[in-house]
């Protein structure tokens, strides 16, 4: 069996006694799409931050294509091949849409002119091609979400981490983004790890689902099976009264 693209083993992170992430292990094969779901506060975003180098884990290890990346800074993780979006979008508000994505593209190519070309192509792909001259601060929330994806994509990642990019999108916009991401996965073999509450998107995109609850992994498996798992239903809906 081929080596997984990403392996997280025993990841843990606590904030003043609260175990936000507690011994979480999982792996993603190259070309796979894995969705991470779970109630609010389950530790999903913390998990992302641990993988992306935004936070240092208290324990555990992250490997990308076999290479340990635990303890690397965010920019080093990005250069290693992981692109990420932020749940609360963080565009470069004062810069144009094109410049926003050009910054990301400069991670993949050396020269500014080349990076601009690359940024244009990515923006076209995400249906933002007609807004390249606008300042990012002028975009609507759905457009900012797409911009966030575009910037991460432009860095040329092997693995894309998407943190609730569907939230706030209308169903048609959501379907369109799913279509784009599925296309990237199919054509370019892009591996995707997504945190998502919009089950419509999760079920269409993800082959496998991982469920976090109170910082621990409570289920992992094929999408259809996981969503019928009683433990998963309990974590979302609460246990049935006896």
């Amino acid at each position: 069996m081929a080596e997984p693209l990403l392996t997280a083993s025993g990841l843990s992170k606590g904030f003043r006694g609260l175990k936000a992430v507690n011994g979480v292990s999982f792996s993603i094969g190259s070309g796979d799409i894995l969705a991470m779901i779970g109630p609010n506060g389950a530790g999903k975003t913390t998990c992302f931050n641990l993988i992306a180098g935004a936070m240092l884990p208290d324990a555990g290890e992250v490997r990308l294509a076999g290479q340990p990346i635990t303890g690397l800074r965010a920019d080093q993780v990005c250069r290693a091949g992981i692109g990420r979006t932020f749940q609360l979008v963080k565009p470069f508000a004062g810069l144009s849409v094109l410049d926003n994505v050009t910054v990301g593209a400069l991670n993949a190519v050396r020269h500014v002119a080349e990076a601009k070309e690359r940024a244009r192509a990515v923006l076209d792909l995400l249906d933002l091609g007609h807004k390249i001259g606008e300042p990012a601060s002028a975009l609507t929330l759905p457009d900012r979400k797409r911009l966030e994806v575009a910037r991460a994509l432009a860095t040329g990642p092997k693995l894309l981490l998407l943190d609730e990019v569907m939230a706030g999108l209308r169903p048609t916009e959501c379907d369109r983004l799913v279509e784009i991401l599925a296309g990237l996965n199919r054509r370019d073999g892009l591996t995707i790890l997504l945190i998502e509450h919009v089950m419509r998107a999760v079920m269409k995109l993800a082959q496998r689902i991982l469920v976090l609850h109170h910082g621990e992994k409570i289920a992992e498996g094929v999408a259809e099976a996981v969503v019928r798992d009683p433990a998963v239903l309990d974590s979302y809906l609460g246990e049935e009264a006896p």
Binding site: A52, G53, A54, R73, A74, D75, C78, R79, G83, R84, F86, K90, P91, F92, A93, G94, L95, S96, D99, T102, V103, G104, L106, N107, R110, H111, V112, A115, R151, A152, T155
Partner: protein, 322 residues
């Protein structure tokens, strides 16, 4: 009008200006160009990389003292003395930067750090015997000596040096903005977390901004030393001068290329104009100029918070290039 035409037109006008004006306007123009240059240098940190320095006199003072001391002691011409001057200032800047960025001293706290270093360097020079201490340092002046390399000569020489520095600083800032590093700076200014997540080495890019800005600023100090031929720690390292340096780019437009130039024109003319006017009216009082400055700042930041240049650029239909 394109930014390029405006730039060339302004440059041509400034090149022929000495033939058209007298001694006093020439002195004012030198001041304008000097502050435009310092503003450009400071703007690299604040306007581009989002690093607020309120202690830029540190680099002016270090540049001035190093080049002046080397000239007075060893006869090293200013052009050569500028190299060690820039090295010393850059090392000081990198030291402050490393301290601030390693320990995540950000925003206003970083600004406080820059003030602290400028202040204790002032006190250090106040008590340093071999550079004259608080009674100042004076450069030897030989009458009739003309040497562009040694920065010795009549005001017109200094005018063209100031012009070359402002134009050179402008072109350097302009080309830096089009590089990878320039994009990294803007990204960090807008959001350091997003910049890092996009592969930008935030620490290194910030250090580069400090290095460029402190080196450029120190050259302004070298100019100051040879133009005025005297320096006092009290004056050259003073907090008030740090503020003076940053006014032009703020008034003109932070993060823009023309901003510091426009701001310097407006402020210097305003300052000189009011000084002249007040004297003429017999109302010259200490601090009057500062009051006018304050009011002008107030008006401009209220009416045009982004600065005068973005507003003017819109009127002249100049793109985001400026």
């Amino acid at each position: 009008m394109s930014a390029r035409n405006l730039l060339l037109g302004l440059l041509a006008l400034l090149v022929v200006a000495p033939a058209l004006v007298g001694a006093y306007p020439l002195a004012v123009l030198i001041l304008i160009l000097h502050y435009a240059y310092l503003g450009i240098a400071w703007n690299v940190m604040m306007g581009f990389a989002g690093l607020l320095s309120l202690g830029h006199t540190l680099y002016v003072g270090l540049g001035a003292y190093v080049a002046a001391a080397l000239y007075a002691s060893f006869g090293l011409p200013a052009l050569l003395g500028a190299i060690p001057a820039a090295i010393v200032a850059t090392l000081a800047g990198l030291g402050i930067g490393a301290l601030g960025f390693r320990f995540r001293v950000n925003g206003v706290y970083f600004a406080l750090l820059t003030i602290a270093f400028a202040e204790f360097t002032r006190i250090l020079f106040d008590h340093m015997g071999w550079t004259g201490g608080s009674s100042g340092f004076f450069l030897p002046v030989e009458h009739g000596q003309v040497s562009p390399v040694a920065l010795r000569g009549p005001p017109i020489l200094f005018y063209y040096v100031a012009l070359a520095m402002a134009a050179g600083g402008f072109m350097l800032a302009r080309s830096l903005m089009r590089t990878r590093l320039g994009y990294a700076w803007l990204a960090i200014r807008e959001d350091p977390d997003s910049a890092a997540a996009s592969g930008v080495d935030v620490f290194r890019a910030r250090m580069a901004a400090v290095a460029v800005s402190s080196a450029l600023t120190s050259l302004g100090g070298v100019f100051y030393a040879f133009y005025y031929n005297n320096m006092y720690p009290e004056q050259i390292f003073s907090m008030a001068r740090s503020i003076e340096i940053i006014l032009a780019p703020i008034i003109g437009g932070l993060g823009t290329l023309f901003g510091p130039v426009l701001g310097s024109f407006v402020l210097t003319l305003l300052g000189e104009g009011t000084t002249g006017l007040l004297e003429h009216l017999g109302l010259a009082a200490p601090g009057a100029k500062q009051v006018i400055y304050g009011v002008a700042l107030l008006v401009i930041v209220t009416v045009q918070p982004a600065g005068l240049w973005p507003w003017l650029a819109k009127r002249l239909r100049i793109g985001r290039d400026g």
